[in-house]
Amino acid sequence: MQRFADLLDRLILTPSRNGKLRLMEDYFRAVPDPERGWAVAAITRDLDIRSVKPAMLREMTAERVDAELFALSYDYVGDLGETISLIWPGKRGANYQVSLTEVVETLNAMSRTEARGTVATWLDALDPTARWALIKLITGGLRIGVGARLVKQALANFGGKPIQDIEELWHGLAPPYTALFQWLEGKADKPENAMKAPFRPVMLAHAIEEADKPRIDLSENAFEWKWDGIRVQAVAEGGQTRLYSRTGDDISNAFPDLVESMEFDAAIDGELLVYDPAEPPFAVRPFNDLQQRLNRKTVTKAMLADYPAFIRAYDLLWHDGQDLRGLPFEERRALLERFIDTEKPARFDLSPTVSVKSWEHLAELRANPPLDAIEGLMLKKRSSVYVPGRPRGEWWKWKRQPFLIDAVLMYAQRGHGKRSSYYSDYTFGCWRQDENGTDELVPVGKAYHGFTDEELKRIDRYVRNNTIDRFGPVRSVRASKEEGLVLEIAFEGLARSKRHKSGVSMRFPRISRLRWDKPAADADRLETLEAMIPD
């Protein structure tokens, strides 16, 4: 337990991605099977462990600690698990250090009452950090700021394999992943993914930069709209159906409406979108509607009715037992068209191709797409085979110009890790009239990238020299008609929001330019933003 606890403790306090990867790689090197596999499962939330309710831990603590002293302590620490880990009176002479493996293996074989006594014995002998890790583990809330994707990257680094290999295998593996580790250490062959309907790592596109244009021969390419949803892979095989995100997370549970309609044997690459139930299929709704259905474990009937999901198909990777990824795009596309035409899957349609004559024509289409739900164009070389990752020169994306507004810097917050000595997170606002008819700034968004290191230094200096108030790590800066720093903000879209004072929320806001030259009074008004919201 101690090694696992130390890992969690370090992960929580290490801000940098590379630092976290290194910690996990070191752990995989130092810790044998099956423990390291259980640790992986705990962090990726794939661990099936009999959970112990926080209320039960609280009761157990109450038997050992005065209620008033506990209440005062909990009040101070703020986190129940951490309070218990610190206040639990260790037992002198209790020295049996339970291992992570034993926790996983024994807890699942026990009744609730047995578990209570056993957990108490474990807590008696552990130090506060290990107690904290144990409590987090068995109450099922690690929350250490490490996602499944980062763990897979650490595994890939550890074994010197591409992350796509791990993603491809992932859903065929079960904790404690012994076969995976054996392969990563070169002691065994790559484990076969025997699971039906596996994930196939996705192929991605490069963004077109001005310098790329001369190297792209438009006549070699096919064109499609770039739809503003989320990229998914829908796989059905022998009755097994799965919907994967582009990183291979299984998101089937959130989209039962879609998954039920998958009565075929195929793997389809496409865009997950939400359509308007009042219109004939499939009138695409803006991204904000899709957002209502993301990151949910379960969905209500009302959600299914109001925000029905479908997939706009881009590619066919596998069909009736045949891997099609080695075929050129042109041939896959023909097979996809035939597939949609003959199978007519209820919640699928075909991403239409677009005919493009020239760069000028392409630029015009990009500037004036026919629908709000289109965020640009895709260029796919007709000869391209489907390979995972982002191969150079095969697929391109040309996103529409971002929206731009001028806003005034209102608050600045200290960054994290490398940027912790800089004020690098900015809240900015636009003008609106308050109830007395005078203009006031209302926050419309927050951005923490888009500027160079040099620009960061200048903004940081500006913030320090223009602070009017402080709240912990946040500074309020001068922002009035006469004084204030204007930031040009680029963003991808705008939606109505009840949670924000301004009533709007921005997608991917970032700072595109610093307008040291522009008077704060000339920054945009909230009405300008409201006019940008799609209906």
Binding site: D9, I12, L13, T14, P15, V65, D66, E68, L69, L72, S73, Y76, V77, G78, D79, E82, T83, L86, I87, D127, P128, W132, R414, H416, G417, K418, S420, S421
Partner: protein
């Protein structure tokens, strides 16, 4: 016998002694002050007469200038003086250099005021000495049962281990300028770290003072990039600080000052680091749970050992310690004095 509050009682300016007409650690200027130790919330400038240990008087002179008080009265550990009929003496508190418990006796009543204290290893000052008394006035900075600090040398070992594992990163250790910084340095030395240790400018004069009082800090160098002697003996460059230990006031380790170092690793030596979320909020990557205040175990063990007739609790989490005492059947009350700060905050 008299009531204890006839000898000492809380007042807006601090703990007051009516028969002796003096205050202990007053928070505003008074005619006559008894000062337990040199931390700014206990030792303030501008009193008429200051009675303190010679070390504390020296610390105050360094921090506030020689004019910090109109008159100084020096009293060593174990010596006794009389102020308007009240006997006053000092016993070591083990908190920082010169720190003392103030012992007041009048008409057979003895009250010990601990100031701040701890019971753990500290090579920079003599250890706390339990004094029998009627009333024991204890601090309660870490007066909650969640505060049980781990072994101090284990925490220093964590720092040394991190330096070894991260030779490319400058280790910035936030430590209070008086006491904590010098304690960390001496503990590093005791555990075999013989490299030069770099210090922030704000620590220089206090480190010099400790040296003058016989505390050996080993080789210290200013943590400035353009210092004449960098770690390689030449003019210091940014990269020369990689893998080095740099000690600075807590506020500096996350501020502009820290930018001069290569990939700084922020560490913070404080009892508050026991609470993970506090470390995280401050952006501390390496929390070192090292305190100059007694933790819960030290507080309760000390009170049990001194075994007073009555316990008064001041600055910190008073309620919990009073609750603990009442569960033990010991008469206790919170003093609710204002003006004292939590360690390092």
């Amino acid at each position: 016998m008299i009531r204890p509050d006839q000898l000492l009682c809380p007042s807006p300016a601090g703990l007051y002694c009516p028969p002796g007409d003096f205050y202990i650690d007053p928070v505003r200027p008074v005619d006559r002050a008894v000062i337990t130790h040199g931390h700014a919330d206990h030792a303030r400038a501008g009193h008429g007469t200051v009675l303190a240990t010679p070390e504390t008087l020296a610390i105050m002179a360094v921090r506030y200038g020689e004019e910090f008080t109109a008159r100084r009265q020096s009293l060593g550990y174990g010596e006794t003086t009389t102020i308007n009929g009240v006997e006053v003496s000092f016993a070591p508190a083990g908190h920082v250099l010169g720190s003392a418990q103030a012992i007041t006796t009048w008409k057979g009543m003895t009250i010990v005021c601990t100031g701040d204290y701890k019971r753990r290893e500290d090579p920079t000052c003599p250890p706390f000495e339990p004094i029998p008394c009627h009333v024991f006035i204890s601090e309660a900075t870490f007066g909650l049962p969640v505060f049980v600090h781990p072994d101090t040398r284990g925490e220093i070992a964590k720092l040394l281990g991190s330096v070894q594992h991260n030779p490319d990163r400058a280790h910035l250790v936030g430590a209070y300028a008086l006491g904590k910084a010098q304690r960390i340095i001496t503990l590093l030395r005791l555990m075999g770290y013989d490299q030069p240790i770099y210090i922030h400018g704000a620590l220089q004069r206090l480190c010099d003072l400790y040296e003058e009082h016989g505390v050996d800090l080993g080789e210290l160098r200013p943590a400035t990039i353009d210092a004449k002697d960098g770690p390689d003996g030449k003019k210091g460059g940014k990269q020369d600080f990689a893998g080095q230990v740099i000690i600075a006031p807590p506020s500096a380790i996350q501020d502009k000052w820290a930018r001069r170092f290569p990939d700084p690793l922020p560490a913070f030596a404080s009892g508050w680091m026991r609470v993970r979320q506090r470390a995280r909020q401050r952006g501390v990557e390496l929390p070192l749970i090292i305190s100059d205040h007694a933790d819960w175990t030290e507080l309760t063990d000390t009170i049990t050992e001194v075994n007073p007739e009555e316990l008064w609790v001041t600055h910190g989490r008073e309620e919990a310690l009073v609750r603990w005492a009442s569960l033990k059947g010991l008469k206790a009350r919170p003093l609710s004095l204002v003006g004292y700060e939590d360690e390092n905050e």
